[in-house]
Symmetry: C2
Subunit: 430 residues, 2 copies
């Protein structure tokens, strides 16, 4: 069967690459996902699956405690799902991929049009190629391969093509609430072919630091919000140190800072010769798989409420939690799906996979916490170019990952009945 799958993938390459180009050329920034979703829905239909296309707008969705988006109108951003039904009695799997892409940013840093889909030296270029339309292609290839090779599965294979991952996962939340959950999930986000059983969650925060204005020539009559911000920054650096010292998970062994606090933006003051009376910092705090968002919020807020500075005690910085958030997620490292994926990876790649914790959040956090669907993140994309100019993906890796995922689904959803697939697999293929 391994040979059959590999041969099928080889034959599929030209058509699959052309389809990836089509997906990349569709500029599916948030609010503009409709075109690419229609492409994918058409592809699913051509594979022979029944397709569900919907615009999430139910109260349960919009008012869900983990609903997190910059908008509430998704009429231009449909979700797509499709199910490859098993014969029953097997374990089900969710295959989850998002189609929204972050904006291209500074165009002068791109060597070509950011949505070119151009191929050079075996790499396909364009915003979204790595994060994560290349990964989505793996999932579509797996579905098509299973269907065309008529592989008999007992468990269902449930495909999500979701919007809005880049702002915190409203698309996946909607898919979960519509009932598209399973016994486990695979999310082919760009991991450089590493396997991530744990994913760092994260939240955005905004800290407002206040001072008192005065003319710059008599700046001693005011209180500089910038000087006070330096105290706040130092405290946040201390907090990062303390939080990371607590982390003992061996998955983070080689990670310099498992759950970083990144201060990404600063602005304040209105005039060079006035003392600034308000500075705003915006940042991202990493959330360990063992933590809850609420605990982390309280820890940061408590720190900033007890700063060792008279002015800041009387005029405490205010903290807002805004914008995106990603729940952390993790799957047991001994989980059968982990074992099966690792085994197939080793078989196909001829070496052991790197198993780590992801340094960023994925929709796996929502799938686990809200959908009771523990998730593994494993994909062919290049981590370092996600969100960056000249984003690209190696085409060979896509097909390699597609083979691994297809075989893993076969193992998991099983021709071989229920029970621990790993044991059966070991017997079958020692």
């Amino acid at each position: 069967m391994k040979k059959k799958v590999q041969d099928w993938m080889d034959r599929q390459k030209p058509e699959a690459i052309a389809f990836l180009q089509e997906m990349v050329r569709s500029k599916s920034e948030q609010g503009k996902e409709k075109e690419v979703q229609m492409l994918i829905a058409k592809k699913l239909e051509s594979i022979g699956l029944e397709v569900d296309v919907w615009h999430p707008d139910e109260a349960e969705f919009l008012q869900h405690p983990y609903f997190c988006a910059t908008r509430t109108d998704f009429s231009a951003s449909p979700n797509v799902a499709a199910v490859l039904k098993g014969s029953g009695g097997g374990r089900s799997v969710v295959l989850n991929g998002h189609v929204d892409v972050v904006p291209p940013g500074d165009l002068t840093q791109w060597e070509n049009d950011p949505y070119s889909g151009e191929i050079k030296d075996g790499k396909l270029y364009g915003r979204g190629a790595t994060d994560m339309k290349g990964g989505n292609l793996c999932l579509l290839l797996a579905l098509q391969c299973l269907k065309e090779l008529n592989v008999p599965l007992k468990g269902d294979v449930i495909f999500h093509s979701v919007m809005e991952e880049e702002s915190g996962g409203a698309g996946t939340l909607a898919a979960i609430l519509r009932g598209y959950t399973a016994d486990a999930a695979i999310i082919p986000e760009p991991t450089n072919m590493k396997i991530f059983p744990s994913q760092q969650g994260s939240m955005w925060f905004r800290v407002n630091v206040y001072g008192r204005s005065a003319h710059g020539g008599t700046r001693y009559e005011g209180v500089s919000a910038l000087e006070k911000t330096m105290i706040v920054v130092k405290e946040l650096q201390e907090l990062e140190r303390a939080r990371n010292e607590r982390i003992t998970d061996p998955l983070y062994e080689s990670v310099p800072i498992p759950v970083p606090i990144n201060l990404g933006k600063i602005s304040g003051g209105e005039w060079p010769s006035s003392v600034p009376d308000h500075i705003v910092i915006e940042g991202r705090i990493g959330v360990a798989p063992s933590e809850t968002l609420e605990d982390v919020k309280h820890e940061l807020e408590d720190r900033l409420a007890s700063l060792n500075d008279e002015w800041l005690q009387e005029h405490p910085p205010t903290v807002e939690w805004f914008g995106a958030q990603w729940l952390p997620g993790s799957i047991d490292q001994d989980h059968d799906l982990m074992k099966l994926l690792t085994r197939r990876f080793t078989e196909i790649c001829q070496n052991e996979p790197v198993i780590e914790a992801s340094p960023w959040g994925t929709d796996g956090g929502l799938l686990t916490a809200v959908g009771s669907t523990p998730s593994i993140v494993f994909g062919p994309g290049v981590t370092s170019v996600a969100h960056y100019p000249n984003e690209h993906i190696e085409l060979d890796k896509i097909f390699q990952a597609a083979v691994i995922i297809t075989l893993t689904i076969m193992d998991w959803c099983g021709e071989v009945g229920s029970g621990t697939q790993t044991e059966l697999l070991v017997k079958k293929d020692p």
Copy 2:
């Protein structure tokens, strides 16, 4: 004569206050000075003076090394000058006032319309009331009084009503280049009735600090421009300390920081979960009367070129000198005009004046350095409300200052011939 001047001022009050209201109601922000200048020109004509109204545009002006403005087109911003000719043989004086006002800023912080000119409890409210249309009224009253009382003067009294002081003095530069200089000058900027023989100069600067971007979840792969900015801020704090330790002028004795470095604005970073790769700080550095602008520029630049940080040595912050600058200025404390003004102040106010160095620049720096006209800053305005919401001025102070200035001009430009007026005055009025 003192009695005659005081009585004249008393009679003049209603008309003068109405005229100040008219001036304040004219929203003479930069580029909109024409209306108020026309009011003043009309007033000068009604006093019986020949008036010079012109729009500076000569190459000598625009290309002058101390030309500093945010624009080069002054067609909506005329300058006004007038001369009360003396009979000859006496010392001349420049009376300098600017008509441009800073914008009102946040309107919600004003209790009334910022250009109301409303009077309440003896105070006249509105942007420009204190900085410095109230001071300008003193000068106009002095001219009118000298003219109406037919005081015979030997030296010329040269009045400047200039634009563009708030951005560095292009209006006064134009007046100097047109030949309106004298043996000394009085500038009634808002000093709270203090006498400022020395004025702090200042310059604006912009520091760019560079880092290297990365995803916030792996922030250790980048270099935070914000962390590096903290090192730069610390160095600028050190520089301020070192610069102020050098200042021994007794005029600065009671000033906590004679020449402050104010960091007024900060901005940088583009995304909460990206490592910021560029932060910009904008500030103002005070320049002591004993310093040149060039020396101060070099001192700051040298500091930031030799920071004790490997990254910053390889990627040094860049410094730009932009926007406004004010030359420092000073007049000898034993200068006759200082003695005469101090004497008349003491006589009228029944107490010794406070003599200090100003914490901000005025057009006195240009008058001294470019126009060889040493200047004293002394005016009725309230220092603390200049540039702030609910700017106002005490009306009584305006008339008190006008009396002092009128009598000082009489002493200086002298009925009594040339020579040291102070000695004669001492003899005449022991």
